[in-house]
């Protein structure tokens, strides 16, 4: 496996705080602005970056991420360009883990082996592919793990005790606990239930467990972070980008700055979470 991911979680565990995992859509609203956003994320306090791979039919995403994908595709984003974005980012930052997140078809069309080679070469540390459950591990998960790319799996409230070992079997890097059944961008579930769910997963794995779906504010991040090894924020960032665009959908001066401000606030939330838990 690439070392960056494990090192990052180990370092955070040592200082005793959860990771802030931030998602954005590669190429939204255009390549150059999107790369600036990516570079700004770690500077604003993000510990792990999820780089969204645009897809025309994002079946598990809500309207915000659907629209972000459409903006990116309209601006000419392709999987090759998303890999290039990771490569461009790596020139400046060799420590922040990058996870590519999206759907299988563009990878399948790119070619699995070629994709994995290019992703490794670009400095990618992990993959989250929404429509590849464990039953489909031969497609991408097993080849990825064989080449040293982490394959991060989603666990959900429908993943019961019986199924958890199947889900965790070939997972590496971290486990992404989707804290509710639903699409991205839904409302935040009751944080008090999340601790139990994280504990349930941790009984089966030594991997860090990050929790996402519904986190929008520093206060959410603090509350979720108290119970998890990481807090994933996606839709809030994508919405922030959308709200900064000009009437004709172009980036404005507020596009990168708005993301910075939001991520700094979220970062303060995760940094306060263990203090709160200790109270």
């Amino acid at each position: 496996m690439t070392a960056r991911m494990d090192k990052r979680f180990a370092d955070l565990a040592a200082v005793g705080r959860p990771a802030l995992v931030t998602y954005f859509m590669g190429g939204d609203p255009d390549y150059a602005s999107s790369l600036e956003i990516m570079k700004a994320l770690p500077k604003a306090g993000s510990d792990v970056i999820e780089l969204g791979m645009a897809f025309s039919d994002p079946m598990a995403d809500g309207p915000a991420i659907q629209l972000a994908g459409q903006r990116a595709l309209k601006a000419g984003q392709t999987l090759a360009k998303t890999l290039q974005m990771a490569r461009d980012f790596r020139r400046e930052d060799d420590a922040t883990p990058i996870v590519l997140m999206g759907y299988y078809n563009p990878i399948y069309i790119y070619g699995v082996d070629r994709f994995l080679d290019d992703a490794l070469d670009a400095g990618v540390d992990g993959l989250i592919v929404v429509d590849l459950p464990p039953e489909m591990d031969d497609e991408l998960c097993i080849p990825a793990v064989a080449k040293g790319v982490n394959f991060i799996r989603l666990a959900t409230p429908t993943t019961d005790e019986k199924r958890l070992p199947t889900v965790l079997k070939n997972t590496s890097g971290f486990v992404y606990y989707v804290s509710m059944n639903g699409i991205t961008g839904s409302a935040l579930p009751d944080p008090s239930l999340i601790g139990g769910a994280v504990g349930r997963i941790k009984a089966h794995t030594a991997l860090p467990v990050c929790v996402g779906f519904g986190v929008k504010t520093a206060e959410h991040a603090r509350a979720i972070g108290a119970a998890a090894d990481g807090v994933v924020v996606g839709t809030a960032i994508v919405n922030q980008i959308a709200s900064s665009l000009t009437a004709d959908g172009k980036a404005s001066a507020a596009t990168v700055a708005g993301v910075e401000t939001l991520v700094m606030s979220l970062a303060s939330g995760v940094r306060a979470s263990r203090l709160a838990a200790a109270e």
Binding site: P106, Y108, V178
Partner: protein, 406 residues
């Protein structure tokens, strides 16, 4: 990779992972996996449960009106001057198409599983109407997702669904057609997994849908095979059906797959021609990819982004196709050909005038292929075609194209 343990049979797929060769599978989000596995369990039990089969048969006879007739199209045969043409009259079913066969089967499954809410996607509205119908009959609330473009061009079916008590939710994402409606139905399902049953209308999607939809639709071919043997004392030389997602086609094809003498022809929507993007011929002009839970042939660009597709017929307006068709195409057991919008429109009018049957625009594509093939065949040869739906819903679309004010 051949899924068939018996190499002499084309009828034994899919394998336990839901594969037909390399096609099919279960490409869904983790949230849905436990449900898909639960559905498969329930389906495996129902398949061999005599009580389930008896209820299905009873409703088939008394609610749908099965068996549907096999009809010798005498005047069309005479007009074309070649092979004898028989229609399997699925348009005479309750709700006007083959879609009801699958809906009755799946609503019985939903009931067995203790689900309390039905969702469905629809293109032409035929599956939406059939879903709303069975939901009314069994007392389930029902939400139908329908592309906004289709809501507009299939207004009569939208009204039918509403009358039946279903809520029709127009989908504006993408081009507002069937694929977008399917995305939205999947989103609803991911959100409401506990109580909701997703009633997929075509023989596509994650395993076990392609198998169970096929099995519910195979009643078409099973009946037709018996009926033609009774009428002619022999099997047809050719079976033809239109293919969008492919449920009516797989329904009539499947019981004939092992009859080597029977040529099988699926007709795709050629739209305005295969040169540009204005068609839905996934097999003729697409390539293998992964969408909506299965690997199959798709219309897509070099980056793996799915294209929109076009057809005069809302029911064929889907950029993919059921995985079993992809497999039959790849191994060459079935042949798939495109028919253009204008050819379908001509066939629609010809059948209406010659036989007094107004066909839906979907099977009008199959009729257009019959019109091409029958004259080249001998008078002692037989074509069996699936007349999968009636055209009442299409008269506004056709009227508009023909310049008639309705």
């Amino acid at each position: 990779m051949n899924q068939s343990p018996n190499l002499n049979s084309y009828r034994e797929g899919p394998d336990e992972d839901g594969r037909f060769g390399i096609f099919g599978g279960r490409f869904v989000a983790e949230t849905l996996m436990p449900l898909i596995l639960e559905l498969q369990d329930e389906w495996d039990k129902a398949k061999t449960d005599p009580a389930f089969q008896a209820e299905l048969k009873h409703l088939g006879t008394h609610y749908i009106g099965r068996p549907s007739p096999l009809y010798f199209a005498e005047r069309l045969t005479e007009h074309l001057g070649g092979a004898k043409i028989y229609f399997k009259r699925e348009e005479l079913n309750h709700t006007g198409s083959h879609k009801i066969n699958n809906c009755i089967g799946q609503i019985l499954l939903a009931k067995r599983m203790g689900k309390t809410r039905i969702i469905a996607e629809t293109g032409a509205g035929q599956h939406g109407v059939a879903s709303a119908t069975v939901a009314a009959r069994f007392g389930f609330p029902c939400v139908v997702y329908m592309g906004a473009t289709d809501v507009e061009r299939q207004a009569p079916n939208v009204f039918r669904m509403k009358l039946l008590g279903a809520e029709v939710r127009p989908v504006t994402a993408g081009s507002g057609t069937l694929k977008d409606a399917m995305n939205e139905a999947l989103r609803d399902w991911v959100t409401n997994v506990e109580d909701t049953y997703y009633l997929i209308g075509t023989a596509a999607g994650p395993h076990p849908y392609p198998e169970l939809v096929r099995d519910f639709q195979a009643v078409i071919g099973t009946e037709a095979r018996e009926q033609i043997l009774e009428a002619e004392g022999r099997l047809p030389d050719m079976v033809i059906a239109a293919v969008g997602g492919g449920s009516n086609a797989i329904g009539i094809f499947h019981p004939f797959l092992d009859d080597k003498s029977v040529q099988i022809v699926g007709v795709e929507a050629g739209g305005k021609g295969l040169d540009g993007d204005l068609h839905c011929a996934s097999l003729t002009a697409g390539s293998p990819g992964v969408l909506h839970g299965n690997r199959t042939y798709l219309l897509q660009d070099a980056d793996g982004q799915i294209k929109e597709g076009h057809s005069i017929s809302a029911g064929l307006d889907y950029p993919g196709i059921g995985p079993e068709h992809a497999w039959l195409h790849e191994i060459g057991r079935a042949e798939y050909v495109p028919i253009m919008d204008d050819e379908a429109l001509e066939a629609f009018q010809l059948l209406t005038r010659l036989e007094g049957i107004i066909p839906a625009l979907e099977p009008s594509h199959a009729i257009a292929e019959v019109i091409k093939r029958a004259p080249k065949m001998g008078k002692d040869q037989i074509i069996l075609m699936n007349l999968s739906g009636r055209g009442d819903k299409d008269i506004f679309t056709v009227g508009k194209i023909l310049g008639m004010e309705l």
